[in-house]
């Protein structure tokens, strides 16, 4: 590991000033950053440790009903906050389906948004990777890519964004609050992450030195609380990234869908808001047939980027099931195996 400077600023402005220097990186929970540094994937010259900035550690109700979650709130603390879980059950479920208990205790809201792809060629510094080294090429193309993207990919990069948390967040119109040299600004989560295009190295809307200070959920996000689920198919029952996941949230009245939110995870370089599918749902009968049409709409533009055609059909089925689960109502208690297809198994005794 290369030598680096370690700075622990006392205030947000100090942090931003320190991180504006080239070669800087913020350190939050460190669960992703430290792995990347140990593997030589990133080699920052200066670490700006924000983990003890007190004002970033709060969950605040906003006037008008919204919620503001500080960037340093730990994934576990947020998921286990009873008021939060009640209002945004799909978000809590997504959080608890991610990583392991130990990692969730350390991982932060901001860090979760900014975690890098799990593409193995990105991690393997002997491989060509445009995201790691612009212009180098993409060894995932034609390689071991059964878990890569089926939506929004380009020939420059076929990686996916691995976050669970971001999937229901993007569905619920979350907004990222950013502070930088030029002050504060708000960017919707949908616009925050970028598709690769020709510049996969530009992963999000942050400029050098920009600090995520909070994530906001608008008032309307809580209106789905009675019918909101997150569903995640993975290759072991817990402690695995999604093969494909979906967040679904509905407002249903008299059998008709009055509002609908749908997003997919594990399919693209960003959490994938399925707006065309939402349009299919809106005003339609809340039925499996409608959900199937919505699933078709959501995946209409999908195409395999390698040995991953199965993910397209899998995603369709997950969309239908997630919508069915949302329709049948948010469970009274979060299941013992959050977001798992097996969450219903009677006698499931283990927290994931």
């Amino acid at each position: 590991m290369r030598d680096f400077d370690y700075i622990r600023p006392a205030t947000i402005p100090d942090a931003i000033a320190a991180a504006a220097e080239p070669g800087s990186a913020y350190l939050a929970g460190g669960t992703n950053l430290l792995d990347l540094m140990k593997g030589g994937i990133t080699s920052p010259e200066r670490i700006v440790d924000i983990s003890r900035l007190p004002e970033l550690n709060r969950i605040e109700r906003l006037d008008g009903g919204g919620l503001r979650i500080g960037a340093l709130v730990r994934n576990a603390d947020l998921a286990h906050d009873p008021a939060f879980a009640k209002s945004y059950p799909a978000v809590a479920e997504a959080l608890l389906s991610g990583a392991s208990a130990q990692l969730r205790n350390a991982a932060t809201v901001g860090g979760n948004l900014l975690q890098r792809t799990r593409c193995s060629y990105f991690y393997d510094t002997a491989s060509a990777c445009n995201r790691r080294q612009p212009g180098a090429g993409c060894d995932a193309l034609g390689g071991e890519n059964r878990l890569h993207a089926v939506l929004g990919w380009s020939d420059a990069c076929i990686a996916t964004h691995p976050s669970d948390f971001c999937v229901p967040l993007v569905a619920l119109d979350a907004v990222v609050e950013i502070e930088g040299k030029k002050g504060r600004r708000h960017v919707t989560l949908e616009e925050f992450h970028r598709l690769p295009g020709e510049t996969p190295q530009r992963e999000n809307a942050l400029e050098p030195g920009d600090l995520i200070v909070a994530v906001r959920l608008p008032a309307e996000a809580a209106s789905f609380s009675a019918n909101a689920r997150y569903l995640k198919v993975r290759e072991r029952t817990s402690y695995a990234f999604a093969v494909v996941s979906a967040a679904a949230a509905l407002v249903v009245d008299g059998g008709k869908i009055r509002a609908a939110r749908l997003a997919l995870g594990g399919v693209a370089a960003k959490p994938w808001r399925a707006r065309t599918a939402e349009a299919v749902l809106l005003g339609a009968d809340a039925s499996e047939a409608t959900f199937a049409s919505a699933a078709d709409a959501a995946l209409a533009d999908a195409s395999p980027s390698g040995d991953n055609a199965f993910k397209i059909e899998l995603a369709r089925r997950i969309v239908v099931r997630a919508l069915m689960s949302a329709l049948s109502g948010t469970p009274e208690r979060l299941p013992a195996l959050p977001a798992s297809p097996f969450s219903n198994i009677p006698g499931a005794r283990h927290d994931a």
Binding site: M1, R2, D3, G40, S100, R118, S120, Y121, Y123, D124, T125, A126, S127, D139, G142, G143, E144, R146, V233, R234, E235, R236, T237, S238, Y239, A240, F241, V243, F310, E313, L314, R317, I318, V320, R321, L337, P341, F342, N344, I345, P346, G347, A348, R349, H350, A352
Partner: protein, 752 residues
């Protein structure tokens, strides 16, 4: 607690009441959960430096350049070891004096023969400096195309497979058997490369003192490691002192000393200071052995009653380009099912990988998942219940050799496990069972088996004038509980309470305990301990029975019992005296005895010796997504005498969970072009987590074996994987109607 030991080696099963058989908790458990247990990498001799490997990122070619200057210029870096300055060795690391000597990569030249091969070692004052120094070497390579995958090179028939067994064997006429069959099946299965991921990576702390070596390193075979090191460095074995009190898992990867461990010793020699070298997780994927992938084809013929008329098992596997180890997968068909004609054969390709080596149940695990899947297919083809089919083909003698079994309680295993599981209500047809939540539910079974092997071991027993005892043997505790099980055998061997025995193990300075492998450690070192105990008690009895002042005078050795620190007259137990009294009167501070453990040649010749078991699995499969969960596992195992039921059960659990891993999770994903492994980390190299194994039950089936050894011990370390992996695969078929043909079973295989 009564303790009893006869002096005339009565068969162990005839004795009763002892330390043996008690479900003691691990004696080292407290040290481990409190962090006080000192593993190899926890050592830090004064003046110690850190060594870090630089490893190859190509699979094949040569290292054209290394920026040694840049590495040396980095603050804290003390030295860089490359082929140019690596200290001389007394033996060629590419020499192969015997089949168990595996070739090592010790910077003997600039050639690269697999990814993650060591190409240099950076030695520095800190781990960080050494790590950065290794990165600064920025190797350049001349790259040759990598040979990857089971079809990546021309295949050939290896000279031997496993530990040297013939690659091709047969009895009877398989083709005729297939021809005469009423029903036939043929099926091909693929198993992936699996890599060692013991919790503790290989680590070594080395200090040279002249020509004497002091080493802390985890080892499953201390004496072998000692001999190999002595040979490579041209020093006397007794100058090599290895401490290995605890291993954070071995599973075969620490059976032979690996290249990186030797490089740690070389690094210490080069810099003249103690050195620590610890492999990074991803560096485990190459130089420490792995389970080779296989493609196995089975053909079976059955008569009208579902009896096998022929069984043909072919396995294709891989080895490295520079050494020979061939996963003996097809040999799994030698021992389980009766058939008038059996043929097994292997072929292999040489790939640019590290040499595959022993990995828990090498050959047995890979072969078992294919054989048990094929047996399930055969049963279904005959319209028979899989258990009934297995009973119909039950082997009364070992099928390949015709030898009688030394003992075989497999029928009882089937019965107990099936009953506990509730197998009787299983429908024959697949895809018929759904649970209340709509999940496809399937039940499958597999037969488990593993040979009862013994190696060679020695032990030394001491009785002291204060009445306490010492038992010494260089045994290895890999986490399986050897510290405890051996102390139990030692206590009985010495006729003492376990707290009166100072049991010493885990060091090469102690008598050679052989290897902790092949599921033979408890039997082998256990017999050495048992015999050492008997020898020292015999000496004690000599003293007493020959001494007129003793109440045992004239009883003769045969007439004396040892129990609870006293000797008694067999014909009158009211007459006896304590060890302390006997030794004190004789004016001795201590006496000692030696014992050996080794297989008995006559019983080797006359009997087939195997442990057996039956495993039943329930899986649930999401009908839309193909995600699988093993909701229930029940295994019943008969493996001779159980020294400690608690430890034995955890061996079965661990094996069964590895079976789940084999069927559903584990796989090294290798880039088809570069040959580099893409998931060399514990986030992406999946093994089961707790949520994957919600219910695992292991039943211990009583089995007396008078032939394996005097204690009646077989072995329990590896058998659990066999049977289980196939049971899970068969349960998946029963749930879905889709026959798994490659492992691990993937979502896309079941999506339909």
């Amino acid at each position: 607690m009564t303790l009893e030991l006869s002096l005339n080696q009565q068969p162990a099963h005839a004795r009763q009441g002892s330390s043996i058989g008690q479900p003691l908790t691990r004696r080292d458990g407290f040290l481990k959960v409190t962090g006080a247990a000192r593993y190899a990498a926890d050592n830090h001799p004064p003046g110690m430096l850190y060594a870090v490997l630089a490893v190859s990122s190509i699979a094949r070619g040569r290292v054209a350049s290394l920026d040694v200057e840049a590495a040396k210029a980095h603050k804290g870096v003390v030295e860089v070891m490359t082929p140019q300055n690596r200290p001389a060795l007394a033996a060629d690391p590419d020499a192969k004096d015997h089949p168990f000597m595996f070739r090592l990569d010790l910077l003997q030249n600039d050639q690269v023969r697999y990814p993650n091969q060591s190409i240099a070692v950076v030695i520095a004052e800190t781990l960080e400096a050494a790590t950065e120094g290794a990165a600064l070497l920025s190797p350049r390579y001349e790259v040759l195309p990598a040979r990857v995958g089971l079809d990546g090179a021309e295949s050939f028939v290896p000279r031997g497979v496993g530990v040297g067994g013939p690659a091709v064997q047969h009895k009877g006429d398989v083709e005729a058997g297939l021809k005469s069959a009423k029903t036939r099946i043929e099926a091909t299965y693929e198993t992936p490369a699996q890599y060692h991921n013991a919790m503790e990576p290989h680590a070594i702390v080395v200090a040279w003192d002249g020509d004497t070596l002091s080493i802390d390193t985890p080892s499953q075979g201390l004496a072998m490691a000692q001999g190999r090191i002595a040979g490579l460095f041209g020093i006397a074995p007794e100058n090599v002192h290895i401490r290995s009190p605890f291993l954070g898992g071995g599973f075969g990867s620490k059976g032979m000393i690996s290249g990186p461990q030797i490089l740690g010793i070389l690094a210490a020699r080069l810099v003249g200071r103690p050195v620590k070298l610890v492999l990074r997780r991803e560096q485990m994927y190459g130089p420490v052995g792995h389970r080779a992938p296989t493609r196995q084809t089975l053909r079976m013929g059955m008569d009208g009653e579902g009896r096998l008329t022929a069984l043909d098992h072919h396995a294709k596997t891989t080895s490295s380009t520079f050494d020979d180890f061939f996963e003996p997968a097809a040999d799994a068909s030698h021992t389980l099912y009766a058939s008038p004609a059996i043929a097994t054969s292997h072929d292999a390709v040489r790939l640019d990988t590290g040499t595959p080596l022993f990995m828990r149940a090498p050959g047995e695990a890979t072969g078992s998942i294919a054989l048990e899947s094929a047996i399930d297919e055969a049963a279904y083809a005959c319209g028979m219940d899989p258990l009934e089919f297995r009973l119909r083909n039950y082997a009364e003698v070992e099928p390949m050799t015709g030898k009688p079994f030394s003992s075989k309680a497999l029928r009882e295993c089937y019965r107990q496990a099936a009953e506990t599981f509730g197998w009787a209500s299983r429908p024959l047809q697949p895809r018929l069972m759904r649970d209340a939540d709509g999940f496809l539910t399937g039940w499958g079974m597999g037969t488990a088996t593993f040979p009862a092997i013994m190696f060679q071991a020695e032990a030394r027993a001491v009785l002291k004038a204060d009445g306490s005892g010492v038992m010494e043997t260089g045994a290895q505790d890999m986490g399986q509980g050897a510290w405890t099980a051996f102390a139990q055998i030692a206590a009985d061997g010495l006729g003492l309470d376990i707290d009166q025995v100072d049991f010493r193990a885990g060091s090469s300075d102690l008598p050679n305990a052989g290897i902790a492998g092949g599921s033979g450690h408890t039997a082998t070192a256990g017999m050495a301990i048992h015999n050492a105990g008997a020898a020292v008690i015999a000496r004690l009895a000599d003293l007493a029975t020959g001494d007129e002042a003793s109440p045992l005078y004239g009883a003769g050795n045969e007439g004396v019992l040892a129990r609870g620190g006293r000797l008694y007259r067999r014909d009158d137990e009211s007459r006896g005296e304590s060890y302390a009294e006997i030794l004190t009167r004789a004016g001795l501070t201590e006496i000692e005895g030696h014992g050996k453990g080794a297989p008995d040649p006559a019983s080797q010749e006359n009997y087939a010796k195997h442990a057996h078991g039956a495993v039943f699995a329930e899986v649930k499969v999401d009908p839309d997504f193909g995600q699988i969960r093993v909701t229930r596992l029940v295994g019943a195992f008969a493996a001779g005498r159980v020294i400690n039921p608690r430890l034995v059960r955890s061996q079965y659990y661990g094996g069964m969970i590895w079976g789940v891993s084999f069927a559903l999770h584990e796989e090294a994903i290798t880039d088809r072009r570069s040959g580099r492994i893409q998931n060399a980390n514990l986030a992406e190299y999946h093994v089961p987590v707790n949520a994957d194994v919600p219910s695992v039950e292991a039943l211990l089936v009583h089995e007396d074996d008078p032939h394996v050894n005097a204690l009646g011990i077989k072995g329990v370390g590896e058998i659990g994987i066999t049977g289980t992996a196939g049971a899970v695969a068969n349960a998946v078929w029963h749930a879905t109607g889709v026959r798994p043909r490659r492992f691990p079973i993937r979502i896309e295989d079941l999506l339909g």
